[in-house]
Amino acid sequence: MSLSVEIAHRFEGLALDVAFDAPPGVTALIGRSGAGKTTVANVIAGLMRPDRARIALDGAVLVDTAAGLWPPPQARRVGYVFQEARLFPHLSVRQNLLYGARRRGRLREGQAELGPVTDLLGIAALLARRPGALSGGERQRVAIGRALLSGPRLLLLDEPLAALDPARKSEILPYLERLRDQSRLPILYVSHAMEEVARLATTVVALDAGRVVARGSAAEVLSDPGAVPALDPGTAGAVIEAVVEAQEADGLTRLAGAGGTLYLPRLDAAPGARVRLRIEAQDVLIARDRPAGLSALNLLPAQVLSVHPGRGPGALVRLRAGDAILLARVTQRSVAALGLAPGLPVHAVVKSLAVASGNIGTAG
């Protein structure tokens, strides 16, 4: 299933005018505070009627204001996890979770199962409580569960993990990944956190002041130095795909990708599985010669493709390693010292453990 969105609306202070396609998988909507991300989500869910909108889900037109087509939210089957949890204060956590399932008759048909969702979100112990007695993070986890259990055919997540601690985040992310991979639901994921985006997103749409400033596959947008200004400079990084070769005895996983062998902390994937890795530009070093006696296990022969000096002292260097593109963020001083120029053969040094587990996902 894929989603296609066109929205135009004028606010005092913001002229929203966006159009993008979201193929199956996760489309990340990124952009600064006030860029219009929540507004887009509200329009898709049917909560805000804009001046003009056209939304199609898998070819079928869901919304077309020009043709007067504007179904109400309940008819859209769009699961929405809000920036603030919006739990029903008069219902217990269990009743909140089952609310959508009940409304859609999924409970009767046995399609909604509480157990797996509550275990995964770590909320099994909260079922009898009311939302008033939950912490901020607990609330958001319940909200995620509630949307999942309602059987949506499109999922909108508006910064769903912002209030969670890193440990909880890493617990929930694999579930979102599984969801993406198994359900083939299009998921629109609003987030500021690049690790999450890189890990989950198939497609990235970057908004700025109500307009789309970059759009494309996650690999493209996140490793395109030209798109970086729209993003946060500290968050550039390439997304590469690799194949699991073996699980080694000392807890590392050997992968083939990026033109060589990569060693990463144990990945939960069988040999032969394709995974996607986000390698942040600032975690890649460049060596002229293959260095020895270094604690980094991943030394990939590579070639400089281009050098993009930034506004500060840094530069982004695009490298080709095998058929993968890597980004390295180095100082301009190093560019000069190492004489980095297109065509130069070098080694890319990637620490095994610098590829944070938050940046590893199964390929969507």
């Binding site: 859209r76 204060p89 008069h90 609310y99 959508g100 009311r130 008033g132 509630r146």
Partner: protein, 231 residues
Amino acid sequence: MFAPPSPAEWEILALSLRVGLLAVALALPPALLAAHALARWSFPGKALFNGLVHLPLVLPPVVTGYLLLLAFGPQAPLGQALDAVGLPIAFRWTGAAVAAAVMAFPLMVRAMRLSIEAVDPRLEQAAATLGAGRPAVVLTVTLPLALPGVVAGAILGFAKALGEFGATITFVSNIPGETRTLPLAVYAFLQVPGGEGAATRMVVLAVVLSMGALLVSEWVAARAARRVAGA
């Protein structure tokens, strides 16, 4: 003077209670609907509708009673229709309840409307995205959250029904055992010199009755509020 109520007084008391409860039951559904319409819908003529809702409050009660008589009297088509379906209300205690319901209606609507307006529309939005159509949203989110106001409205209506005099006596007259509620009895006592004592007894009974009802209702409302606050 504060001897236990006599059988005749018990009869009046029981009748008042019955009338009050039926009045609230009759007024509750349309009051909820009107409150919801005024709080959440927009439709042409809304201001006029709002005015109509308040009418029984503004009109002298006797006028309301007279209009009811014209509409539901034994000769009026509506009254005859009700009679035909076995629900006669003219000169019946059910008619007293109708009069009280009409008089209580604006008070109930106002209270309920305020509570419905105070329900966070973002929760209703959330319910809609989870598949709840408008009626389901109202039943599962709006009304439960507005419960304290609904209870408050019902209480207010019950209290008003207990005190209603003018519309009741004009519409269904004063028939002992059928339509003679507490205020009618009190009025009759006050019309004769020296009737103050008996009237006072009746008033004390009315006060005790309504205080009891209020206590119960406050307790219900507090429970509802606690449910919503969590814990």
